[in-house]
């Protein structure tokens, strides 16, 4: 039985790689924000302080996705 191509994909596998690399930070940022919302709902008077911490947490988590984005520039 011979194999016939019914669909063909062209392009770079790195694109799929970056898609996978973005999953982790996506979940991470989601967790950071959801916990911040929860905390603000419990203690609204701390909102300003919690938001600063949230931006810090997002910045650290987001760096992972951005390192993934930078890899092709470094290894190309």
């Amino acid at each position: 039985m011979d194999v016939t191509n019914i669909a063909e994909l062209t392009g770079n596998l790195a694109v799929v790689g970056y898609g996978l690399a973005a999953v982790g930070p996506g979940v991470g940022v989601g967790l950071v924000v959801s916990k911040t919302i929860e905390s603000i709902a419990r203690q609204p008077e701390l909102a300003a302080k919690l938001q600063v911490t949230m931006w810090l947490g997002i910045a650290f988590t987001e760096a992972l996705a951005l390192i993934g984005l930078a890899t092709p520039f470094i290894f190309a």
């Binding site: 931006w55 910045a59 760096a63 390192i67």
Partner: protein, 253 residues
Amino acid sequence: MEFYPEIVAFEGTPFALNRIMLIRLLVLTLLVIVFALWTSKFKQANKAGNFVPGKFQLMGEISLNFVRKSIAHDQLGEKDGDRFLPLLTTIFFVTLGMNITGVIPGLNIAGTSVIGLPIVMALAAYVTFIYAGVKKHGGHFFTASLFPAGVPKAFYILVTPIEFLSTFILRPVTLALRLTMNMIAGHLLLVLCFSATQFFLFNAEGAFKFFGAGTFVFGFAFTLFEILVAFLQAYVFTLLTTVYIQLALADEH
């Protein structure tokens, strides 16, 4: 590629100028002019004893106070906050000015979307937080940040390399990369949306032309999003610099 445009002046010399360099110079000139106007306005108001600010002066006071009060004083306290304020203010306004050109029609690319400028600012932050630590704790700053207290002796084999990597290498690298990659990703998103609009409107057939309206709306939405990102990245860069300085000054060391 878009991030390496053709050179327009001084070709062959180390001072070769391309489109992005011209945009940076433009932003720099504008920043210097705005700050000169602000300071002269503040001085005038101080001398005249006129404490009701006009619109322009109010804008200056609000934006300068934002960095001073809600970044520097909140994280570092009044004394240390004022000590490092010149650097923080510079970083905030340069980053903001360079970021915002990414959404200004006609300029359309952020001055920070090529890594040179972010590297310079990250190095400034790096040198400053090491200086702050060494000035306060002397050589103890390095031993304290490489051998954190409260860890069993044997674990230093694991902990010290990790601490070294994260404190002295990854901090400046991620500072520079975060800013650049955010700007590059934003620019690519906008290019994608608007070139898709162009394709659907002029090259597509029949009902596909209607997709153009959808991609245009997305492009507009992402433009608004990019304005938010420009402010946010300036804020995050300044905030992280402040936090690194604060960690270097902290007394646990």
